[in-house]
């Protein structure tokens, strides 16, 4: 270990003869700079930013802490662009995301989880952040056709354009947005928000081709011939049938998705006074709430109990507030029809829950003989949707779970085996949420770019994987993220155990205002209000910044050896003086947010402090 020249405090030899030679207190004569206590150390601290639990839980790998920090600093436009590096549609996901991030938030066990979705919506709703998207690269000449303009297709188009592809999106409907436009009611996601996202995509140079159905207007082979890359994201629209007596001839039965689609296309059907919705998923709840807003009395019939409902609990609670009734543990048995095809009554049987199935949910069984009837003018079915694969024309096999792909979402092909065809969203086997679809688009875009650059896709994907959740870091992939002030480890996740809650104050959360149920149920205008600037700043202050150094100075204050120094070479972060650091670990223990790691002394200091400039 090197000894700095000026550190020449070595005590000179001296003699003590009488008590008069003593200083008044017990103190070393020379100073102690020569005593390099760093030699006692066997573990050492390393400043290492990690993955916050929220980002780890986000399928899209949203760098939530990164933009919340900018928000705290009042840099709203910067926060917007930072957010859009990893997740393209903050105004959309800020409204409809199922908030996997918030469920994982390390703040939850302390007081109340952070309102990440509300903050994201605030950032997404800021009036037109100045300028175009930064660093939009020139086109490299390769083309991409995206089939379907839902969230998966939008996401793939966005990221592929950021990677230099010339992108065209094909949509069979006259309006763009797929499920966002036709499957999610406007009171949750206003049409203008979706339209604005497409305006932004067009501004990036992405071509939009509505009313063009692949397999009908253009065969898939033509796309394979005309484009270098394909991304299939045609979604899942074919509603499953109830397969009960009377269904086939009933004139007053339609799928929940069809109701949502027709309403969104301004062609709402007449439902009558009493509507029964069959199913327990999000489509069922959206259909029920839409029917309610169209003036009907609505009952949802679900074969399992409330806790097994796949629908988002928040949506269910709001539906109940608005007056939707739920009949659990019941399944339709047959529809008794009048002569004109209208419904006389719906006969249901009571169910009971048996042993858990493969998915962990308890399987419902008919309770023998327990039958009841429900009066209904219309029945809406929402027991699930299946993708339609007929347009694939044998190029790829379609299985029950969806189109088979590899980890880079490249479709396993039966014909045209050399074609670069990728798929995402509801046509592959992933959870059917908007954010999972967005994640799939991102993953496919990166994989396509790897293929274009002839890189080892699997190695790259492993390299840019965030934490344990499988999301990918676009910033790490492109290397265009500014060098973070502290070494960043993309693979370590900060858990609750690493947070020192003593350093935080309990603070009540800021909650988005929601209109009263009576007001909500009569209109399709949006039911929640975007945060004001003050609300957003207050809620942003609650972020714990898990695993990300904020320069709180705790390490500097607590270091008993004065060995934590402000970095002399830049204006952020700390440097450890390893001449004197004893490796006591107090900095590590007192870091409120797990931004310090203790590593083995044998790990070379140079290697441990070196930053990867590609970050």
């Amino acid at each position: 270990m090197k000894v700095v020249e000026k550190r020449s405090g070595q005590a000179k030899p001296y003699a003590i003869h009488t008590w008069r030679d003593f200083p008044p207190l017990n103190i070393s004569r020379g100073n102690m700079l020569h005593n390099l206590t760093g030699s006692w150390r066997y573990i050492k601290p390393l400043y290492e930013d990690k993955v916050p639990a929220c980002q780890n839980a986000c399928p899209a790998g949203n760098d939530i802490e990164g933009w919340i920090r900018l928000l705290q600093q009042g840099e709203i436009a910067q926060a917007y662009w930072h957010l859009k590096r990893e997740e393209p549609f903050p105004a959309v996901l800020g409204r409809v995301c199922f908030r996997f991030c918030e469920a994982a938030c390390n703040r939850a066990p302390f007081d109340h989880r952070l309102g990440i979705r509300s903050l994201e919506r605030f950032v997404g709703d800021r009036p037109a952040p100045a300028g175009d998207i930064p660093d939009l690269p020139p086109l490299h000449g390769k083309t991409l056709a995206v089939v379907g303009s839902g969230p998966a297709g939008m996401s793939a188009a966005y990221f592929a354009r950021l990677l230099g592809f010339a992108v065209t999106i094909f949509e069979k409907e006259p309006v763009m947005g797929g499920l966002l436009r036709l499957g999610i009611p406007a009171y949750r996601l206003p049409r203008a928000v979706v339209a604005a996202e497409f305006a932004a995509l067009e501004k990036m140079g992405i071509a939009l081709r509505p009313e063009t159905e692949i397999g009908v207007d253009i065969p898939l082979e033509a796309l394979v011939r005309d484009f270098d890359y394909l991304f299939l994201a045609s979604g899942s629209h074919a509603s499953l049938k109830l397969r009960i007596e009377g269904e086939a001839h009933c004139r007053r039965i339609m799928s929940g998705l069809e109701l949502l689609r027709r309403f969104a296309a301004d062609e709402p059907p007449r439902l009558g006074k009493r509507v029964v919705v069959i199913g327990g998923g999000n489509t069922a709840v959206d259909a029920a709430r839409t029917a309610l807003r169209l003036g009907s009395e609505v009952m949802v019939v679900y074969r399992r109990s409330a806790s097994e409902m796949p629908a988002h609990a928040e949506e269910v609670a709001q539906a109940q507030e608005e007056g939707v009734r739920f009949r659990f543990l019941a399944a339709p048995d047959r529809i008794e029809l009048a002569d004109d095809g209208s419904i006389r009554q719906l006969v249901c049987c009571e169910m009971q829950l048996g042993a858990p199935d493969a998915g962990g949910r308890r399987r419902p069984h008919r309770k023998p003989g327990a039958v009841f009837t429900v009066a209904a003018d219309s029945i809406l079915t929402a027991i699930g949707e299946a993708p339609r694969f007929d347009y694939l024309a044998g190029i790829a096999a379609a299985e029950k779970e969806g189109v088979p792909t590899d980890d880079g979402l490249r479709v396993v092909l039966q014909r045209c085996r050399e074609a670069a065809i990728y798929a995402g969203g509801d046509i592959i086997d992933i959870p059917r949420t908007v954010v999972h679809a967005v994640a799939a688009g991102k993953r496919a875009a990166i994989a396509m770019d790897c293929r274009r650059r002839k890189e080892d896709v699997m190695r790259v994907l492993a390299d840019i994987a965030i934490g344990t959740g499988g999301a990918l870091s676009f910033a790490r992939y492109t290397g265009r993220q500014p060098v973070p002030p502290v070494r960043r480890n993309l693979h370590k996740v900060v858990t609750k155990e690493q947070i020192v809650y003593d350093y935080f104050q309990k603070t009540p959360p800021v909650i988005e205002e929601i209109r009263a149920p009576a007001d909500r149920m009569t209109s399709f205008t949006e039911d929640r209000r975007t945060f004001t600037v003050n609300q957003a700043e207050a809620e942003a202050q609650r972020c714990l910044h898990c695993g990300r150094c904020t320069e709180c100075d705790n390490c500097l204050i607590f270091c008993p050896d004065m060995s934590v120094l402000k970095r002399p070479d830049r204006d952020f972060g700390y440097q450890v003086d390893f001449d004197y650091c004893k490796g006591c670990g107090i900095c590590f223990a007192e870091c409120p947010r797990g931004a310090i790691t203790m590593v083995d002394e044998d790990q070379p200091i140079e290697a441990s402090t070196a930053r990867r400039e590609t970050e």
């Binding site: 009488t18 008590w19 207190l25 020379g30």
Partner: protein, 384 residues
């Protein structure tokens, strides 16, 4: 500016005037209001100091050991059991030669639980190496703090200032609060000769073997002995600035006294009344008020008491199996004299029991009537 304030707030004002930089405390009855006022002053910005909340008195003392080691003027306050919990760190503070000032509200030690005046708490800390000074009035309480910082920083020893629970701590008296510029002139900013300095780091309080420990302690003792000479000089300067006179002790009508009463704290006030009353009966009685108890101003005690025939020492404290601490120490100090006064030790007023002028007159008359002092102390007012 004259104000009617409690003894505790006299301390708070004095700490503020002394421009203390670090205050660390754990609240304990009856001193709580000292630090309560100080915490408010820190919060309002009236006093530019760091107020450190701690979880015990041991930590309170440890915190000011740290701040004083870093070279800033530091203060803490406590009482009875709180002081006892500080005991270990009190030794350290003195050995490390840290000029900390501590005020202790003299209060009885449990059990039984008793929050009233009694000096056993501070007297049980007499061997810690701290300078100890006792006060009789709220004015004295205030002035003692300012004097204490001058003294402590001159000799690098900590000072414990004590005063009686409730008789002073919670009793309002007229107190002249000095002007801050006057105090600044008398008490300059602390410039420590030794302090923790990250650019010139030294080892403090390291291991020291039998070869040197003895000399190190002797150096501390020698410096403590200087206090008895230095303190009167500081008091003379104080008197010049503020017009109030202090010393290591105070005598009242002792010039021709055949009997001298010795007392500390508020019992001195009632003793002064008793002296006047006894003088009016042609009894030549005087009073010596103990102010500084550590270091022991031996020569001054001998000079003040040596010519009297009899001495009555009133102790509001008890070391079980011996008697009063003051009496024992005065006996020890006077023993080498060729002509020794007769000493009549009295233990009185334990746990806050009132000691009135009549009580003191009674003690004196008893001493005057006896030819020879008894072997042990007289327990005045004991329920027989």
């Amino acid at each position: 500016m004259k104000q009617v304030i409690k003894g505790n707030h006299a301390v708070s004002h004095a700490v503020k005037l002394s421009r203390v930089k670090v205050i660390s405390a754990y609240p304990i009855t009856p001193q709580t209001t000292i630090v309560e006022a100080l915490s408010e002053m820190c919060a309002s910005g009236e006093l530019d100091a760091r107020f450190i909340k701690v979880e015990s008195e041991h930590s309170a003392m440890a915190a000011v050991v740290g701040s004083a080691s870093a070279g800033v003027r530091s203060f803490t306050a406590t009482s009875s059991h709180g002081l006892l919990l500080m005991h270990e760190v009190l030794h350290w503070a003195a050995g490390a030669r840290l000029p900390i000032v501590l005020t202790n509200v003299n209060r009885a030690v449990g059990p039984g639980w008793n929050i009233w005046a009694d000096q056993t708490d501070s007297l049980s800390q007499r061997d810690t190496g701290w300078i100890q000074i006792y006060a009789e009035s709220n004015q004295e309480v205030l002035d003692n703090v300012i004097l204490a910082y001058r003294l402590a920083e001159s000799v690098l020893l900590p000072v414990m200032l004590t005063y009686d629970a409730f008789y002073l701590s919670h009793t309002s008296e007229i107190v002249d609060i000095p002007d801050d510029r006057q105090v600044d002139a008398f008490l300059p900013e602390f410039r420590p000769p030794y302090r923790l300095d990250i650019d010139d780091p030294h080892m403090f309080g390291g291991m020291i073997g039998p070869d040197y420990y003895y000399e190190e302690r002797y150096v501390m003792h020698r410096d403590a002995l200087k206090v008895a000479e230095l303190y009167p000089e500081i008091c003379r300067e104080f008197s010049g600035a503020f017009g109030r006179e202090y010393d290591v002790l105070e005598t009242y009508r002792t010039e021709d006294a055949a009997l001298i009463i010795v007392a500390a704290g508020t019992i001195t006030s009632v003793s002064r009344i008793a002296v006047d009353r006894l003088r009016s009966q042609a009894k030549t009685v005087g009073l010596m008020k103990l102010r500084m108890f550590r270091p022991v101003p031996v020569e001054r005690w001998r000079h003040a008491l040596g010519r009297a025939a009899k001495i009555v020492v009133i102790d509001r404290n008890l070391t079980a199996g011996l008697g009063g601490v003051f009496a024992a120490e005065i006996q020890a100090a006077l023993y080498p004299l060729a002509k020794r006064p007769q000493i009549f030790p009295v233990v009185a007023g334990l746990g806050g029991r009132d000691v009135t002028p009549e009580d003191v007159c009674g003690m004196v008359e008893r001493a005057l009537s006896e030819e020879q002092a008894a072997a042990g102390p007289l327990f005045w007012g004991l329920k027989q």
